[in-house]
């Protein structure tokens, strides 16, 4: 009898264990984040997940609207002198940090200084700045010693690195050291007690936040928060994310790669959303070592690349991508076809072979680096190896994890000593859209970005661009920069594809912004 009782109790316990579990808290949305958040300092890294975290917690002086035009955000009014050397900004009333202190001009100046230690546009801007002066608690000026055409563009930079505003006590920390606390004035407050690096991040609605009165537009306009808590969780793979979404364990999957969109479409309660942001993968060649230290060999590869082939291999669905050779974006104000060698979608294999022959290429090995654990670029290396073989080059593809890939990409040695010939990157298209911010146009050689492109002419053109304030002249200079970039083959864009997100039917879609943000969403 007693034994029977134990059996029954065991069965009851087992049955209870498989009863449906209670739902998460109301007004809380759970998000499968695009990557694990580990670093909290938005100036300390260019990682997109830290940038996204920045948009939750911090606010910016200016922000890009849906037409990619800068609009005042924390700023109420601003003006620039006729000689374009004196910018004056007045902050909105009632701005407060999460620690209760008011946002002041001194906080903004300190934050701009810290941001400008790391951001490329900021660095150039500070080269032109004479002084930054707080006129009163809500008004400050940026005084230039020479013209700089991208002050507002820099302060409204949407992607790595945006100029987030933090309290002066934190912003005075040197950029080489991480900030000690996460305190912003943005629409969400970071809950430090519940932060588990790499696993979970929790944000609460900032009750003191006063949104702008305009409707949301891109990253600009009113940041109206419709939920009490946002929880980012990091799930191990897209399949687990899809399963968790289908079963309602998460409300959003922040990033769904285009090649898995189809598999998610079958889930009844799930909605796929095409985001406003786009990604541009690029090929980067090593200018220091053979064979790509020869311009003709680089040009041969440029001729052999078909963006459509790369997009078909990486993305698949033609409606999710577009062929775009304009280095600063096909729809932006700097769009141009200067220097573009591609005629339509087809690769010019014969032209490539001819250039390779002219270069005197004699079979030196080209090493293509391949990060196997990074889905957004999984097809790039195998296809590049195939392209190089098709024009008669000796190719070796070397596979590794992403961490090793980044380390190897930093090595300047010959391929026999662990160096490389072809690597790649995957960029938010915004990060390529300005000649100043586009890291691939770095002309400083060995001291510059991986690939070590060297060109004094390029640096001079970018300096000229920085000093130019006239939009027409800027466009002309951007065309010259693009022309030179293609002649020398600084990098090769591989097409542009749309990013996708997925969410449950009981939550609203994400706002159409170039960065994923969680104001403006609600849950039923």
């Amino acid at each position: 009898m007693r034994r029977k009782g134990i059996v029954v109790a065991g069965m009851l316990a087992a049955a209870a264990a498989i009863l449906p579990f209670s739902a998460p808290l109301a007004k809380e949305i759970r998000v499968a984040a695009e990557a694990p958040l580990k670093l909290l300092d938005p100036v300390g890294t260019t990682a997109y997940i830290t940038r996204n975290h920045g948009y939750m917690v911090y606010d910016t002086l200016f922000a890009l609207d849906e037409h990619m035009k800068p609009q005042p955000q924390m700023v109420q009014d601003w003006s620039v002198s006729e000689d374009k050397l004196n910018y004056t900004f007045t902050l909105r009333e009632g701005l407060k940090f999460h620690d209760g202190s008011p946002v002041t001009s001194a906080d903004c100046i300190a934050s701009i200084k810290r941001w400008a230690q790391r951001d490329l546009t900021g660095l150039r801007m500070m080269g032109a700045v004479k002084e930054m002066v707080a006129k009163d608690d809500r008004t400050f000026s940026i005084v230039l010693q020479k013209p700089f055409g991208s002050v507002i563009e820099g302060l409204s930079k949407a992607s790595s690195l945006p100029a987030f505003i933090m309290p002066r006590r934190l912003a005075d920390t040197p950029a080489s050291q991480p900030i000690a606390e996460v305190v912003g004035s943005g629409p969400f407050r970071f809950v430090a007690d519940e932060f588990r690096p790499g696993l979970q991040v929790v944000y609460e609605r900032n009750k003191d936040y006063v949104p702008r009165s305009e409707p949301p537009s891109g990253l600009a306009g009113g940041k109206v928060v419709g939920v009490d808590r946002v929880v980012w969780v990091s799930l191990p793979d897209i399949q687990t994310e899809a399963n968790a979404l289908a079963k309602g364990e998460v409300d959003y999957v922040q990033t769904v790669y285009p090649d898995v969109v189809e598999t998610l479409k079958g889930s009844g309660d799930v909605v796929i959303q095409k985001l406003a942001s786009t990604t541009t993968p690029t090929l980067r060649l090593n200018w220091l070592q053979p064979p790509f230290n020869d311009r003709k060999v680089r040009q041969a590869l440029l001729h052999a690349v078909s963006q459509r082939d790369y997009m078909d291999a990486q993305v698949g669905d033609p409606s999710a991508y577009r062929v775009c050779w304009a280095l600063f974006g096909c729809d932006g104000p700097l769009a141009s076809d200067a220097g573009v060698v591609s005629k339509g979608d087809e690769a010019d294999i014969e032209g490539a072979k001819k250039l390779l022959k002219e270069s005197g290429y004699s079979g030196q090995k080209a090493v293509v680096l391949h990060a196997t654990d990074y889905p957004p670029t999984s097809a790039i290396a195998p296809l590049t190896a195939q392209v190089l073989r098709s024009i008669g080059m000796n190719v070796e593809i070397q596979s590794m994890d992403w961490a090793t890939f980044l380390t190897r990409r930093g090595k300047q040695d010959p391929v026999e000593q662990g160096g490389w010939s072809v690597a790649y990157g995957s960029w938010n298209t915004l990060d390529l859209s300005s000649p100043l911010a586009n890291l691939n146009l770095d002309g400083r050689g060995k001291a510059g970005y991986a690939g070590w492109t060297e060109s004094a002419e390029m640096d001079a053109l970018r300096d000229q661009f920085a000093e130019t304030t006239d939009p027409v002249a800027q466009k002309e200079l951007a065309a010259k920069i693009q022309q030179l970039a293609y002649e020398e083959v600084f990098y090769i864009p591989l097409g542009t594809y749309s990013n996708y997100s997925a969410h449950r039917k009981n939550v609203s879609p994400l706002l159409p912004a170039p960065v994923t943000v969680f104001w403006g969403v609600s849950k039923q």
Binding site: A16, A17, I18, L19, P20, F21, S22, P36, K38, L39, G44, T45, T46, A47, T50, R118, L120, S160, S176, Q177, P178, R196, P197, G198, L199, Q200, V233, S234, L235, P236, Q239, T240, N243, A244, A246, K247, E249, D373, M400, D401, W402, A403, T404, L406, T407, R409, G410, G425, S426, W427, D431, L439, D442, A447, G448, Y449, A450
Partner: protein, 314 residues
């Protein structure tokens, strides 16, 4: 006194093993990746990476880094995570609950099921029961744990909807939800382990069943259950306990995979995250921790031998 001497001798013997393990790990993680490049991000300029490397002390010669780390460990300090800045010991402490719960539940589940299965298979040698246990063992032993995990998710979470797909709830917050979240990971981890232990139990019991003293007991009319419990199992226990101990090594590696499949915030997930971001102090600390656990388990097994079989002396 005798046991104490054994303990001290084993611990002294384990130190060089642990040192070799962590030295190899120290070198391997440094050869294959640089955390500064990962932390700085894909688009960081070389100046930023270099300044980060200096800030983290990674520009120091390898020998200097190694000696400093060894000195800290000798003082009980496992260092701080390069990525989060948290003490490594605290990170392990934070993550230990789910790993411990998962490992213990898998261990208990396995022993409670696999030993009787193995005994039944041996007792009913060459019958349908025996074959069924052997088929289960072969399948369970052959399937990688991530395949088992995803199949269980598909069946019990996606199709039947009985259990959650992923995640963890602390036993302190909500015991029922905690159990529900542990059911599938436990099964995933236990199936491989059960296959191993059931096979060894079967073989060990079969061997003892053919001994003269068992035949004598049968001839004397001792009831079958008494023969099994008092004569066969006690004599077959040493190899079974040995394989349970060895199996713990598999369990540890299985935890790393299982925690990733089910998104459990345990030490296994911490290991994978640390390796992928080349968080040197965490990788070294976790490996040292696992080595310590493994050494302790082996020591425990050695002590159990003495209790199970009085003939064993050290």
């Amino acid at each position: 006194m005798h046991i104490l001497r054994l303990l001290l001798a084993r611990l002294a013997g384990a130190l060089p093993v642990a040192l070799v393990v962590v030295t190899v790990v120290f070198l391997i993680v440094r050869v294959t990746g640089d955390p500064a490049t990962i932390l700085a991000g894909d688009m960081a300029s070389p100046e930023v990476v270099a300044s980060l490397r200096a800030q983290l002390g990674l520009d120091q010669p390898l020998a200097v880094q190694y000696l400093k780390w060894l000195g800290d460990v000798a003082q009980g300090d496992l260092g701080r995570s390069i990525v989060s800045g948290q003490p490594v010991a605290a990170l392990i402490g934070e993550r230990i609950e789910s790993t411990l719960l998962l490992s213990l539940s898998a261990l208990v589940f396995t022993v409670l099921l696999a030993v009787p299965m193995g005994v039944m298979a041996a007792w009913r040698h060459n019958t349908l029961v025996d074959r069924a246990v052997m088929v289960f063992s072969v399948i369970g032993f052959s399937l990688p744990s991530f395949v088992v995990g995803y199949l269980l998710i598909l069946g019990f979470a996606m199709w039947l909807g009985w259990l959650p797909v992923q995640g963890y709830v602390s036993i302190h917050d909500d015991a029922w939800r905690s159990i529900r979240h542990l059911v599938l990971p436990t099964l995933t981890l236990a199936i491989f382990y059960m296959s191993l232990i059931a096979r060894v139990t079967r073989a060990s019991v079969l061997e003892v069943l053919n001994e003269d003293f068992v035949r004598t007991a049968r001839a004397k009319g001792v009831p079958p259950m008494r023969i099994l419990s008092h004569h066969v199992l006690r004599n077959a226990a040493v190899p079974i306990v040995t394989v349970i101990g060895i199996g713990l090594a598999f369990l540890i590696s299985g935890v790393v995979i299982t925690e990733s499949v089910f998104n459990l915030p345990g030490v296994g997930r911490l290991t994978i995250d640390a390796v992928l971001s080349r968080d040197y102090p965490v990788v070294q600390g976790v490996i040292l921790f696992f080595a310590f656990v493994y050494i302790m388990v082996n020591l425990l097994i050695d002590l159990l031998y003495v209790l199970i079989d009085p003939r064993i002396r050290y």
